[in-house]
Structure formats: structure tokens, C-alpha cells
Amino acid sequence: MTLDTPTYSKHSTKTGQVEAYQRVQRVTTTWRIIHWVQALSVVVCFITGLFIAKPFIQTSSIYSALPFPIMGWSRALHFYGAMILDTSMILIAYLYLFSRSHRDITDLRPTPEHRSAFKEAALNFITFNRRRRFDTTKRDPLLAVMFVLLHLLLLLQALTGLQLYVANFSDNLSSVGSWWPQFLHFTTDWTATVFGGNVGVRMTHLTASWLIIAWAVFHIYYEIWRTIMWREGDVGIMFSGSKYVRVKDDANGS
């Protein structure tokens, strides 16, 4: 989080007061790319997943099929999306723990400061922005915790998904060698035991996908809400990498 050298933009409000804003750099380009790649993958996986679970498109005439194998493509896109999500998650986990610029894991240490910031952000949200007693230039502490939750859900999705994926292989055959299915069996077979066999794993995968979508809906709402209520252009963080914070302009005595 770096504050730029003052590039104030001043606006006159109705009451004649002048508000000054300062640009705050919030996320790196890498971070933004990962964010949008993941967001797109989640959307693709969700839509194709719905189709795989219960195909909802079919040509009305049985004599003319769709011009492309729609289920084949749905499954392919679902798997590609999943592979992108899974690998990007490994990348994120790495940056989270070992990034050279900022290790996000440090944001999660339950220090008194972090705890009060989280509490204040949560209270602010449920009191409809009645109390803003935390530093909005920094990363939203509420969202920081929410993101951990999302990644736990994505991890669950990856494990159950790969278990369902490898269940579809014929024995240990795969295009990249037998080590791959063996590796998948080794890492994900426990999910079948925990969730009650293939059917249980499937149901967990479906339930988790709805939780992720519910999460995404909340996330979008919260971003828009923040932007409207705080008037600091928060929604722009993931587009431009920066937001604006209001600065007290003593000259105007506000």
C-alpha cells in the first residue's frame, strides 16, 4: 500500500465544501490477473457444471443435433477451468506464504489490531456503514478473512473434483502416464471415505459449488456496497489496482 505523492483531485460538494482524494495503490498487476483468471474459471466451471449435472440445452428437433458436441465441450471446459483454478491456487498459496513484497498470511495473524479491525469492518457492514472506525486505505480485514474461506472452499472443490475426475479413468491409464491417476488416487481417495463414496463426493462437490457462487454474489455486492457507501472507488481496485481515499483538507476547515 503506497500513497502516491499528493495528486489531489478536488470536488465541490453541494454545501460548498471541497473534498480532496488521494490515490492509493492496492494490488499488483499479477494479483489482478490471477483474480480475473480465477473469476472467469469459476464462472465457466459453474455454468458447465450445471450442464453436466443436468443437461438443460437440447435441440428441439431430434433430427438435427447441435453443431458441436455440447456435453463433450462442457466437460472439457469444466476440466480446463478446474485445472486453471487448481494451478492458480498453488500460485496463490505460494504468494500468500512466501511473496517477497507482501505476505498476506501476516494479515491474518490475530493481533489485537487485526482483531479490532475485523470486528469494526464487520460491525460497520451490519450497521449499514454507521461506524467507520478502521483504516480504509488498507486491505479490508473482513474480506481478508472471507478470502481464506473462499480458498478453503476451492480446495475442497479441487479435492472432490479430482476424485470424481480420476474415478472416470480406466484403471491407471492417462494421456500423460500412469503416475497422474496414481497421484490423484493417492491424494484424493480419502474424500470418498470421508464423504460417503462416489455419490457423497459428488454431492459435496455440488453443494460446495453453490456455496462458492453464494460467496461470489456476496463478494460482488460487498464491493459495490463499499464503492457506494464509502465513496472511495473501491470497485476499481481490481481494474486499475488502486483506489482513492478522502483526505482531510485543513485549508477548507472541513
Binding site: A53, K54, I62, A65, L66, I70, M71, G197, N198, V199
Partner: protein
């Protein structure tokens, strides 16, 4: 005999196809040949021999060799093993078999004997030395009991025990007793499996408890693997099991003297290594997004995929999409009905509904699917337990923290009590 997970079929031969090393193949052939010689030297236990039966039933040698080549392929062996498979089939009369039934419908026995004409499997079923089979034997009562005991003693350590049906464990197994002596099936399985060379669980009920184990499982039924310990168990599920898979397992046993490679639930991989769906003749329609939407619609008439009618082929491991039933005549999906997952664990509760999995709203009614009466009972008991724990916790807390207060109050005059109260309040703060 130990259960070799990388047995000859799967370990040495799986997925090698035409690339297979010839010398390896030759070595394996020799090994089988030696084993076959050994078996041949054994005394035939039943008076029936396959060649004679084939002649009697007007099945030509050509018919038989066709069957043998199909069996060789099903066992995932290269064609050069055809002759050995055929030879192994003629040697099946060397294996003593004891076949017992518990909670079942005898459907797996029926699958063998109810074909339209005698199939090779049926004839093979006649040649195996069936020492005991309640449904098929002429003896009854104490006589049959005696037969069972004699056979178990005579072939101790050599016989193959086939268990058909689930094993009820509730009420000490009293839900299923066998024979004139009223022995429970649970005991019978334990007793006979101890002396067996191999236990074969025939059908879905012997596999994971099947239909007797379906919710709410009143008899506390389980599959064979949960009861037998110390003897290798091979599960051949499906409802009914495919005779090919049973005979194939026996042929494997004749050829190698060992159980075939099994998956994590004890099913032979050569038969249960693939999803129905991956070898289904309607698969192209699945990928293309062409589904039957209603029984008898145009899609159904054109053999479209049955996924939306609840086909569970994508979740079911079996080879019926390849070997089919009744000598390859047809199979369920071939005649237009989706798979119900009969060879999967607990298929009755988890797969056997004719709707896609996501629209199957088949949970039992009542709180959290616990059932109507049983749900109320469990809810009530749970509530009672919570109240009980609360009372106990409250009583303990009162006893520990509150007693002194009471004694001060009781032993002092009213003014003192008032001051005592104040003191206490301070302490509390």
C-alpha cells in the same frame, strides 16, 4: 494362497496390448501350462465333463471356442491364451464348490440356470463340483446338513465358498437361520469361510449388503467382506451378477491358483475396472447432448443417451456394457432402460432411482431425513439429553459456586443476610 494384488493378469499384462513383450508372454504361458498340468492331475470331482456335456447339448466345438475367445478377451488376456482358457474351462470340475445363501432372492443362482437354451456358462455350472447348494440339491433337512459338513471336512482348505445374499447381524443373526439345526447364517459364513481357499461374494447383496441393507436396514445386514477375515474374498456384484464374471473368476483361479487383482472394494479389476458409461453404445449421444427426455419419445426411439432419464452408467463400474447378459444377447441400456448402478456399494439407496442424481429428492421424510417416527424419537431423545446435560451442569455449577451463599443466608439473621449479600456482590465484581 495369498491375495496377490499384482497378480499375473493385471500386473504383467494390463495395458500392454500389442506392445507386449513376447518373452514375458511366453513365460506367462509356460507358467499357466504348468499350473494347468497340476490341476489336471487332480481327480475330477464331478462325474460330468464339459466336452461330453457339449456334445450332449449339441453345442459344437466351434461354439465353445467362440465362447473361449470372448472369455479370454473379457479377462484382458491376449488371444494367444485362448487355448489355455478353454482348457481351464474343461478343468473346472476339479474345484469343489460350496454355495450358501442368506438374505437373497436366489437371483444369482437363477442367472445361471434360467437361460433359454443351455449356455456354455450353464454347462460349466453343471460341471463344477457343486458339493452343496440349497436351491439345487435334492437332499433336504439333516441330510443336506450332513452333506455340507462332510464336504467342508473333505475339502478343507481347498473348496471355494460362494456366498449369495447379505448377512443379517441384528438380534445375533436371528433374522436368517439355515438348515434343520437352525444355525444362523452369520455363524455359517464364519464357519465355512475359515476352511475355504477362497470366498466369492456372489451378487449385490453379498457385496455391500444390497437390498437387505437398504435404508432403514432393519436386520442390520452387511456384506461378506465385513464378516469374513483371514480368507481372501472376491466380490462379484451386480443384480444379478453376470455368470461370465463368476466363471471368469474361477478360470482365473484355475489358471493361476490365486485371486485376480481386486479394486479397493474387492471386485476383480478385469470385470469392474471400467465405467459402464465409458463403453456404452449410447456414449456418442451423451457427448453430443442428445438425450431421451421422456419414455417413448423420439429420442428413445432413436436410442439416445438415457442420462436425463436417470442412467447411472457414469457412476457404475461393471463390464455389462461389453460382455452383456445371456451370452451377449443384450443388456439393460441396450433395451432402452438406464443403468441403476447395481454393481456399486449401497446402490439401492444412492443410485437406483430413475432420475438424474441432482433431481433425486428421495430423502426419508422427517427431521434431517431421520424418518417420521424414528426421527421424532431421536429428536425427543436428543432434546432430553440436552436438558439432562443442562440440569447436571447447572446442578454442578450450583454445588460448586452457590453452596456457601446458601449456608451464610441460612445461618445469619436477616440484617446479616443483607450485608452478606452485599459482600458477595463485591466478590463477584
Amino acid at each position: 494362497m495369498d491375495l496377490d494384488r499384482r497378480s499375473l493378469f493385471s500386473g504383467a499384462l494390463r495395458h500392454r496390448g500389442s506392445q507386449q513383450n513376447e518373452s514375458e508372454q511366453l513365460a506367462l504361458k509356460q507358467k499357466y501350462q504348468e499350473r494347468l498340468k497340476e490341476v489336471e492331475a487332480m481327480e475330477p470331482l464331478s462325474g460330468l465333463s464339459l466336452p461330453a456335456l457339449l456334445v450332449e447339448h449339441r453345442l459344437s466345438r466351434r461354439n465353445f471356442m467362440m465362447w473361449a475367445s470372448a472369455m479370454t478377451a473379457a479377462l484382458m488376456l491376449p488371444p494367444v491364451f485362448e487355448k489355455q482358457v478353454a482348457e481351464a474351462a474343461t478343468l473346472l470340475n476339479r474345484v469343489p464348490v460350496i454355495w450358501i445363501e442368506g438374505q437373497d432372492c436366489a437371483g444369482n443362482s437363477e442367472a445361471f440356470i434360467r437361460s433359454a437354451g443351455p449356455t456354455v456358462e450353464e454347462l460349466l455350472f453343471q460341471t463344477i463340483s457343486l458339493e452343496y447348494h440349497e436351491t439345487l440339491m435334492a437332499a433336504a433337512g439333516f441330510q443336506s446338513e450332513l452333506r455340507k459338513q462332510t464336504a467342508a471336512q473333505m475339502y478343507k482348505g481347498k473348496y471355494v465358498l460362494v456366498v449369495e445374499g447379505a448377512i443379517p447381524q441384528g438380534e445375533n443373526g436371528a433374522y436368517c437361520t439355515i438348515g434343520a439345526a437352525g444355525q444362523t447364517f452369520y455363524e455359517e459364513v464364519q464357519q465355512l469361510s475359515a476352511g475355504a481357499a477362497l470366498v466369492i461374494g456372489a451378487g449385490a447383496c453379498a457385496y455391500y449388503g444390497g437390498i437387505p441393507k437398504a435404508y432403514p436396514n432393519p436386520t442390520n445386514a452387511v456384506g461378506v467382506s465385513s464378516v469374513v477375515s483371514g480368507t481372501p474374498v472376491i466380490n462379484i456384484p451386480a443384480c444379478p451378477m453376470n455368470p461370465i464374471n463368476f466363471v471368469g473368476t474361477l478360470i482365473h483361479y484355475i489358471l493361476t491358483g490365486a485371486a485376480p487383482a481386486l479394486d479397493s472394494t474387492g471386485r476383480p479389476i478385469w470385470a469392474f475396472g471400467n465405467l459402464i458409461h465409458n463403453n456404452c453404445e449410447r456414449r456418442a449421444h451423451f457427448d453430443a447432448g442428445e438425450y431421451v427426455q421422456q419414455w417413448g419419445d423420439l429420442g428413445a426411439q432413436n436410442n439416445f443417451c438415457l442420462y436425463k432419464m436417470g442412467c447411472k452408467g457414469p457412476f457404475t463400474y461393471n463390464n455389462c456394457s461389453i460382455v452383456r447378459y445371456n451370452e451377449g444377447t443384450n443388456w439393460p441400456i441396450g433395451v432402452g432402460h438406464g443403468c441403476i448402478g447395481c454393481s456399486q456399494p449401497e446402490f439401492w439407496d444412492t443410485l437406483a432411482y430413475e432420475r438424474p442424481m441432482v433431481s433425486a429428492n428421495i430423502h426419508a421424510p422427517g427431521l434431517a431425513g431421520l424418518g417420521i417416527e424414528s426421527g421424532a424419537d431421536k429428536f425427543g431423545l436428543g432434546l432430553l439429553a440436552v436438558v439432562g446435560v443442562g440440569i447436571v451442569a447447572h446442578a454442578i455449577a450450583s454445588a460448586v459456586g452457590g453452596r456457601e451463599k446458601v449456608s451464610t443466608m441460612a445461618s445469619s439473621s436477616s440484617s446479616e443476610a443483607a450485608s452478606g449479600g452485599t459482600t458477595e456482590k463485591k466478590e463477584g465484581e
